[in-house]
C-alpha cells in the first residue's frame, strides 16, 4: 500500500470517521459492517465500492484497519468527485474534497448536525424542513475559512432565494454537494432561528437570512467548532452548483486558513460551541415568548394547562398528531395530563424545534426538564416521576411512589386535606377541625398511639402500622387511608405510598389500587366476629389495631352517619364473661357506638365500674369512641353538637373518674387473660375482636343509658368549661385505653406468629 498523505482536514475527518466506525473501540480495526454502511452512505455504485475496498486492501485483509480505512475514504472522495479510481490518485489529486456520506445517523448526531447545518436551508423556511437523517451535510472540523465563509455568505443569500421547496422535501435522498464547510459555517445559524420562533408558526423564513448573516460572522475566522460527536458529512438538497464553483477555491482556502486559524481560535470556538452544545436550551427571549403564550391559555403562571387546551394549542402548529403525541410524552414530565409552565415551555420548544426540522429526541433533554422544586423524586422519570397534584403547592407532597415512611410522616398533614380524595374505600366525611378540643384530643391519641407503638412488635409492616396508627388516631377521618394502609400492608409495599399520595392524582390510585384491592386474603378468621366487629364502629374508632383491621380489611372504616340515640341498642356480640353485668349491657348495644347521644349507656357503665379491668378498658373504649363522636359533632354541626358532647362528656367523665383511679397505665396483662380464656387456639384475633366488640358494646350501652342529655346545659359557660375538662379527661382515658389495646394487639399477633410457625412446621408433614 502506498503511503498516504492526508491533509489536516482529511486527517481529522478520517480519524473521526474511523472512530465512528470503530464500534468495538478497538482503535485499530473497523468492523466491516459499519464501514460498508458508511460506504453505502457515500452513495457510490456498488461496484465502485467494491473497487475501493479492493484497492485499499481491505478485501485482502478481511477487515478495515486504520490505514485501509483512510485509503478507502480517500478513494471515496476520489470517486465522488468523479475521478477514476486509481491508487495513484490517492496522492496525486490535490484539493480533493472530503468524502461525502449520506445516510442516517443517530439522532444525537443529527441534532448536532442540524445545529450546524443551517446555511442555505436556514435561509429558507424551516417549516417541516431539513429532514433529519439523510438531509444534512455534516461539517467535520475542518474547514471553515474566512474566505469560504464570506463566499458562503453570499451563496447563502443566493440560496435563500432558492425555492423554499427543496428543503421541504422530506428526507432528501439525492446526494448533494453541499460543502461541509458550508454547512458548518451555518452551523451557528440554527441556534438563531430557533431562538426566534416569532409569534407565528410559519414565517420563519424571514428570520433566516438575517440569522445566517449574523451566524456567519461568528464562524468566520474560526475553525469550525469542535464537533461533539463523530460526524459523517451529509449531503443536502439545495442546489449546489453555485457552491461547486466556489468549492475548489474554498478548499484551498480551507487548507490555508485552517492551518493558521485553528490554534488561536480553537479556544474561542470551543467556548462558543459550548453554547451550541445544547441545542435544546431555551434562550430568554424564547422563554419569554413561551411564557406569554402560556398566559394566554392559563393566566396563572403556577397553574396548569389541561390536556385538552394544550392539545388545541399545539394542534395549531400543524404538526402531525403522532409527533405532537410524542412531544407530549416527552414534556409532560409528571404524567399528569396537564402542563405546568416548565412543561409547557419544554413542549413549545420541542414543537418549535420540530418545525425547524430538528428531530425529536427520544428523551427529554436536560435543559428542558421542568424544574421540580420540592419533589423528592424529581429526577425520576416515567412511572417514578412525582405525581404532583393538580395544584402547584403540593409540589412538596412527596410523589406517590416514594415509599419512605418519613414521607408518610410528612404527608399526613396533606392527608388531612385530602382525606376525601383517598376515597379508595369510603369517603370519610369528617373534616379535621382546627378546634382546640379536637386538636388536643388528637394529640392525646397520637401520643397514646405513640406509646403503644414502640412497644408493640407489630408484625405486619410495623412502620405502616405505626404510621397508620398515628394517622388514624390523629385523624379518625383517615379511616380510609388507614384501611388502605392496612390492606396494603398486608399485601403490597406500594401502599404506603398510596397513602402518602392521597394528594396526588388519581393515576396513582389507579396505578396502585389494583394492588390494593386485591390484597392477599386475610388469614382465616371466623366471620361472625369479624362481621360483627366491622359492623361495630369499633372498627372505625380502632382502626389503629391491625388485628382488627385485618378482620375488617374489607370494611371501610368510614364514619357511619350518626344514628339517633337509640336506647335499646341492638344485637350484640357475645361478651366475655368477665364483667357480667357490664357484659350484659354491652351485649345489648354494641352497635350503638356510633350513636352519639347514647350516653345513657354511660350511666350504666358507671354502675358497673367496679366490675373489673375489662370494664375499664371498655370504658376507655367508650370514652374513646365518645371522644370520636365528640369530634365529629363538633366538626360538623357546631354548637348544638358540642352541647351534646359536653353533656355526654359530663356523664362520661363521671364514670371515667372512678375507673381511672382504679387502673394503672398498663393494664394489659389482665385484659388479655380473660380474653384468652375464651380464645380458641386457632383464632388469635377473634379475642381481640371480641374484646373490642365488647368494649364497643359497653360504650354503646353506656351511651344508650343516658336518655336525655340536657342540651340546655351546654349554653352555660361554666358547663362548657366543665365539659371541656371532662373531655380532656376522657381523652386521656381513651388514650390509655388505646395503648392498652395496642399492647393487646401486640400480644395477639405474637400468638398468631407462634401459631403460624407451628402450622409451618406441620405443613411438611401434610405433604408426605
Amino acid at each position: 500500500m502506498e503511503g498516504l498523505t492526508l491533509s489536516e482536514a482529511e486527517q481529522r475527518y478520517y480519524c473521526d470517521l474511523f472512530a465512528y466506525c470503530d464500534t468495538e473501540s478497538t482503535k485499530k480495526v473497523a468492523p466491516n459492517g459499519r464501514v460498508l454502511e458508511l460506504f453505502r452512505a457515500a452513495q457510490l455504485p456498488s461496484e465502485v465500492v467494491l473497487q475501493i475496498m479492493e484497492l485499499c486492501g481491505a478485501t485482502r485483509l478481511g477487515y478495515f484497519g486504520r490505514s485501509q480505512f483512510y485509503i478507502a475514504l480517500k478513494l471515496v472522495a476520489v470517486a465522488q468527485s468523479g475521478l477514476p479510481l486509481r491508487v495513484e490518485s490517492l496522492n496525486t489529486v490535490k484539493d480533493l474534497p472530503l468524502p461525502r456520506f449520506v445516510g442516517p445517523k443517530n439522532e444525537q448526531e443529527l441534532r448536532h448536525t442540524a445545529l450546524y447545518s443551517s446555511d442555505a436551508d436556514n435561509s429558507t423556511s424551516y417549516s417541516g424542513v431539513i429532514p433529519p437523517p439523510p438531509g444534512r451535510v455534516q461539517v467535520k472540523k475542518g474547514s471553515v475559512s474566512h474566505d469560504a465563509v464570506q463566499q458562503r455568505t453570499s451563496t447563502d443569500q443566493q440560496e435563500s432565494t432558492s425555492p423554499v421547496v427543496s428543503p421541504q422535501q422530506s428526507p432528501p435522498t439525492s446526494p448533494h454537494i453541499w460543502r461541509k464547510h458550508h454547512r458548518h459555517s451555518s452551523g451557528g445559524n440554527n441556534e438563531r432561528p430557533i431562538a426566534g420562533p416569532g409569534p407565528l408558526w410559519t414565517p420563519f423564513s424571514e428570520a433566516q437570512p438575517g440569522a445566517s448573516t449574523t451566524g456567519d460572522p461568528i464562524w468566520s475566522g474560526h475553525s469550525p467548532p469542535p464537533h461533539q460527536e463523530n460526524w459523517v458529512s451529509f449531503a443536502d438538497t439545495p442546489p449546489t452548483s453555485a457552491l461547486l464553483a466556489m468549492h475548489p477555491a474554498s478548499v484551498q482556502d480551507q487548507t490555508t486558513v485552517r492551518t493558521v486559524a485553528s490554534a488561536t481560535t480553537a479556544n474561542e470556538i470551543r467556548r462558543q460551541s459550548s453554547s451550541y452544545d445544547d441545542p435544546w436550551k431555551i434562550t430568554d427571549e424564547q422563554r419569554q415568548y413561551y411564557v406569554n403564550q402560556f398566559k394566554t391559555i392559563q393566566p396563572d403562571l403556577n397553574g396548569f394547562i389541561p390536556g385538552s387546551a394544550a392539545k388545541e394549542f399545539f394542534t395549531k402548529s400543524k404538526l402531525p398528531i403522532l409527533e405532537l403525541s410524542h412531544i407530549w410524552e416527552l414534556s409532560d414530565f409528571d404524567k399528569d395530563g396537564a402542563l405546568t409552565l416548565d412543561e409547557f415551555c419544554a413542549a413549545f420548544h420541542l414543537v418549535v424545534a420540530r418545525k425547524n426540522g430538528y428531530d425529536l429526541p427520544e428523551k427529554l433533554p436536560e435543559s428542558l426538564m421542568p424544574k421540580l422544586i420540592d419533589l423528592e423524586d424529581t429526577t425520576e422519570v416515567g412511572d417514578q416521576s412525582g405525581e404532583v397534584g393538580y395544584s402547584s403547592s403540593p409540589a412538596e407532597a412527596p410523589p406517590s411512589k416514594s415509599p419512605s415512611m418519613p414521607s408518610l410522616n410528612q404527608t399526613w398533614p396533606e392527608l388531612n386535606q385530602s382525606s376525601e380524595d383517598t376515597a379508595i374505600v369510603h369517603p370519610v366525611p369528617i373534616r379535621m377541625t382546627p378546634s382546640k378540643i379536637h386538636m388536643q384530643e388528637m394529640e392525646l391519641k397520637r401520643s397514646g398511639s405513640d406509646h403503644a407503638n414502640p412497644t408493640s412488635p407489630l408484625l405486619v409492616k410495623p412502620p405502616d402500622l405505626s404510621e397508620d396508627n398515628k394517622m388514624s388516631t390523629s385523624k379518625f377521618v383517615a379511616g380510609n387511608t388507614v384501611a388502605d394502609g392496612y390492606s396494603s400492608s398486608d399485601s403490597y409495599t406500594s401502599d404506603p405510598e398510596q397513602i402518602g399520595s392521597t394528594v396526588t392524582r388519581q393515576r396513582s390510585h389507579s396505578g396502585t389500587s389494583p394492588d390494593n384491592t386485591a390484597p392477599p386474603p386475610p388469614p382465616p378468621r371466623p366471620h361472625p366476629s369479624h362481621s360483627r366487629s366491622s359492623s361495630l364502629d369499633m372498627n372505625r374508632s380502632f382502626t389503629v389495631t391491625p388485628g382488627q383491621q385485618q378482620a375488617g380489611v374489607a370494611y371501610p372504616p368510614a364514619v357511619p352517619p350518626r344514628p339517633q340515640p337509640t336506647q335499646g341498642a341492638g344485637p350484640h356480640v357475645h361478651r366475655p364473661v368477665d364483667a357480667e353485668g357490664l357484659i350484659a349491657h354491652t351485649s345489648t348495644s354494641p352497635q350503638q357506638i356510633p350513636e352519639q347521644p347514647n350516653f345513657a349507656d354511660f350511666s350504666q357503665f358507671e354502675a358497673l365500674v367496679a366490675s373489673g379491668v375489662n370494664e375499664e378498658e371498655e370504658e376507655e373504649i367508650e370514652t374513646h369512641s365518645e371522644v370520636l363522636q365528640v369530634e365529629k359533632p363538633s366538626d360538623s354541626s357546631g354548637s348544638l353538637r358540642v352541647a351534646k358532647a359536653e353533656s355526654r362528656i359530663e356523664d362520661k367523665a363521671a364514670v371515667n373518674v372512678p375507673v381511672n383511679s382504679g387502673k394503672g397505665t398498663t393494664p394489659l396483662a389482665p385484659p388479655p387473660k380473660p380474653i384468652r380464656r375464651r380464645l380458641k387456639s386457632e383464632d388469635e384475633l377473634r379475642p381481640e375482636v371480641e374484646e373490642h366488640t365488647q368494649k364497643t358494646g359497653v360504650i354503646a350501652a353506656v351511651l344508650a343509658s343516658q336518655p336525655s342529655i340536657p342540651r340546655s346545659v351546654g349554653k352555660d359557660k361554666k358547663a362548657i368549661q366543665a365539659s371541656i375538662r371532662r373531655n380532656k379527661e376522657t381523652n386521656t382515658v381513651l388514650a390509655r385505653l388505646n395503648s392498652e389495646l395496642q399492647q393487646q394487639l401486640k400480644d395477639v399477633l405474637e400468638e398468631r406468629i407462634s401459631l403460624e410457625v407451628q402450622l409451618e412446621q406441620l405443613r411438611p408433614f401434610s405433604h408426605l
Binding site: 390536556g307 385538552s308 394544550a310 392539545k311 398528531i321 403522532l322 405532537l324 403525541s325 410524542h326 407530549w328 410524552e329 409532560d332 404524567k335 399528569d336 395530563g337 427520544e362 416515567g382 412511572d383 393515576r507 389507579s510 396505578g511 389500587s513 389494583p514 394492588d515 384491592t517 386485591a518
Partner: protein, 139 residues
C-alpha cells in the same frame, strides 16, 4: 423465549401487540383471542373486584408447544394478555404481576396524553420502549 404482549380494548379489538420473535404474531393473535373467553369468564365471576391479575395456565395447549397465558384486566376493561414460553420457568408469578403493573402504568401514561384517543392503536414510543425493555428482560 417467545413472549407476546397484547393489549385489547373493551370490545376486544387489539390495541397493541408485540411479540418476540415477530413471525409468530398471528398465532399469538389466535391464542390471545381464545384466551379472552377465559378472561371474560373470570371477570364476570369476580364481581366487585375488577382489577385482577389472573393466571391462565394453559399447559400443553398444542402438542408442539406449550406456553402460558397470563391475563390482566383494568377497571376500564382493557385487557392485557401476555404469552410466555413455558420453558421459561424462571418467570415467577411476582414477576408477571410486576410486569403487568408496569404495563398498566405505561398504559395510563399513554392515556394521559391528550393526543391519544382511547381506542386508537398505541403508537407511543415510550410505551414501546417500556415493552421492549420488559421483553428483553424476560428473554
Amino acid at each position: 423465549t417467545i413472549v407476546a404482549y397484547i393489549l385489547r380494548a373493551l370490545q376486544n379489538y387489539p390495541l397493541y401487540i408485540r411479540s418476540i420473535p415477530t413471525e409468530n404474531e398471528l398465532k399469538f393473535h389466535y391464542t390471545v383471542h381464545t384466551s379472552l373467553d377465559v378472561v371474560d369468564e373470570k371477570i364476570s365471576a369476580m364481581g366487585k373486584a375488577l382489577v385482577d391479575q389472573r393466571e391462565l395456565y394453559l399447559g400443553l395447549l398444542y402438542p408442539t408447544e406449550d406456553y402460558k397465558v397470563y391475563g390482566y384486566v383494568t377497571n376500564s376493561k382493557v385487557k392485557f394478555v401476555m404469552v410466555v414460553d413455558s420453558s421459561n420457568t424462571a418467570l415467577r408469578d411476582n414477576e408477571i404481576r410486576s410486569m403487568f403493573r408496569k404495563l398498566h402504568n405505561s398504559y395510563t401514561d399513554v392515556m394521559c396524553n391528550p393526543f391519544y384517543n382511547p381506542g386508537d392503536c398505541i403508537n407511543s414510543r415510550a410505551f414501546d420502549s417500556m415493552v421492549t425493555s420488559m421483553m428483553m428482560q424476560v428473554c
